[in-house]
């Protein structure tokens, strides 16, 4: 691509990665997840100083329960929308399901992972990554499947009397174990190990990646970050489907602010959660 000095102001091209629907769903799952973590984890780590402080700030355990349930409804809405989209995608044959381009994991992901480890140790070049990398696929499916488990068990705990009209009481014990552990797992995966690192900590995205809020990526970065998708599209001649003119400067600035605000909030929330969890281990 000829970029930089040649492409003067006004002729900026971007790669459109996420549609309005996907961006909306990300907002939905993001806000509801923050609400759920901040009102759920204090119960799990009840002995932590920060849990008590957070509960007091929210207005008590009952208020937290109310926020938890409201957020849960939004979280379930995300799931319904995403599942509906998937069903529609498959039924209407919107695109290939098993290909390098799709979100479904395949053999290439395994090879990419091995390639990445070789690269980490300086034993080879960085592999040419797909449209969705293996850790992005993990992130996506872990959240999707996790929501089934955490939402299902959460609904049982929300309506324990109704649940035990059909099922034995031990179901509630199992639900609590699933909910509590899955919540911890999801919080770790999203706030620390996979998602936040992928969105903020990688060299390619540091300090923050605005693609999920704006939907686009400067073409220069796209070529660099998703070389394989770029090659494929170039070959198939489908590049013009995803490359468009950049939005207006005002909109670009707005997305920049949204990204910055969310990043700051996410950083604070993750730090708080981290302190909340390690506090009882230290003191």
């Amino acid at each position: 691509m000829t970029t930089g000095t040649v492409a003067t102001e006004g002729v900026r091209l971007v790669y459109r990665r996420f549609s309005a629907f996907h961006r909306f769903n990300h907002y939905l799952v993001m806000t509801s997840f923050f609400g759920l973590v901040l009102t759920g984890l204090p119960l799990k780590f009840k002995d932590s100083y920060f849990s008590q402080q957070l509960m007091n700030a929210i207005g008590g355990v009952e208020a937290a329960g109310f926020i938890h349930r409201t957020s849960a409804v939004l979280n379930i809405l995300y799931f319904v929308l995403e599942a509906g989209y998937m069903a529609w995608y498959v039924a209407a044959r919107k695109g290939p399901i098993f290909s390098d381009d799709s979100i479904v994991p395949g053999k290439k992901d395994w090879q990419d992972m091995k390639g990445m480890f070789r690269w980490f140790f300086g034993r080879g070049p960085k592999p040419a990554l797909n449209r969705f990398t293996y850790w992005e696929k993990f992130d996506y499916w872990a959240l999707f499947a996790g929501t089934v488990l955490i939402g299902g068990s959460g609904l049982m705990m929300w309506f324990p009397e109704a649940t035990t009209r059909i099922l034995p009481g031990v179901t509630l014990n199992v639900a609590l174990v699933i909910h509590s552990n899955e919540a911890f797992l999801a919080t770790g995966v999203i706030f620390i190990f996979v998602h936040f690192f992928s969105a903020h900590g990688r060299p390619e995205s540091f300090p923050a990646d605005q693609v999920i809020f704006s939907g686009y990526l400067p073409v220069e970065h796209y070529v660099h970050e998703r070389p394989l998708e770029y090659e494929n599209r170039l070959k198939d001649g489908t590049l013009d489907q995803v490359v468009t003119l950049a939005p207006s400067p005002q909109r670009r600035r707005m997305f920049g602010w949204i990204t910055a605000a969310v990043t700051v909030f996410a950083f604070l929330a993750a730090t708080y959660t981290f302190l909340l969890i390690i506090w009882p281990l230290v003191f």
Partner: protein
Amino acid sequence: MAGGARNSVSGLAKEFTFLMRWAFSAFVLYLAALMLVAVPALAQTQTTVPETSLTDRCLTCHRQEYLGRLQVDEQQKDLYVDPAAYKDSAHGLLPCNACHTGFSHDPHQMVTNAEFFAETAGEACRNCHDDQFEMYKQSYHGTLTRDIASDGVEAPECVDCHGTHAIQEVATLEYRQSIQDVCGTCHGGRESTFLDTYHGKAITLGREAAATCVDCHGAHSILPISNPQSTLSRANILSTCQQCHPQASQGFTTFLVHITPTSPKAPVIVFLVAVFYLVLIIAVFSFGGIHTLLYIYRGIKDGLYFGKGGH
């Protein structure tokens, strides 16, 4: 005119003395009535005034902190009473000898009174809280005190659960939050499992309405579950849960309050799920952690963070 006047004057005088007599009788009656009311009142103030100061007199010595580590007959004793905590307690207005019967003069006859008191510590509460005392005596803890205590089994008495000189009102969040620890001193395992349930977490964080030990087991009527009279026996458990869960059915009552999910003694399904998650969490966090650290390492080493490789 004069005679008439005189007559009328003496008539007036007669009338006056007559009135005076009535007034005097009424006054006497009034005084008598006053005495009837006032004497007991006076008598009462006479008895209560010195007794309130009796508390203060007792406390002139017992507020001294060195009494907290006193050596009496080669025995270490704690005879310190915190005056502020006492005055704030539910019994703050009681004179000390409401419980320490026999202590009315100072310096008191310590040895005889102490012996008397040691044997009747539980009885000290009975005078005023007979209902609780009778219930307690029929509960499992109450029978233990009589029969098993001599074998060295420690069963709780009134003061083990309520304290002595800082007894709190029970219908407060603070007291409700302390119950789990009170029972936990002897039933530690039960406390830790209870704290893993929603009830335990919620009460710890300040939700007063969540169940604590005594909402399920009773406070002064605690019995083994096998006893049909227990609040948690097969026949009674449903109504116990229904106090707070009106929609509860029999199935609801089979929720297990006291299990440790990661212990093999837990129901097998709970155990398997708990162990599965333990392994999964360790695996995912370790792999994720290593992957992340290596990525950062390579990023820094190749100068990708701020150099040309990145944005």
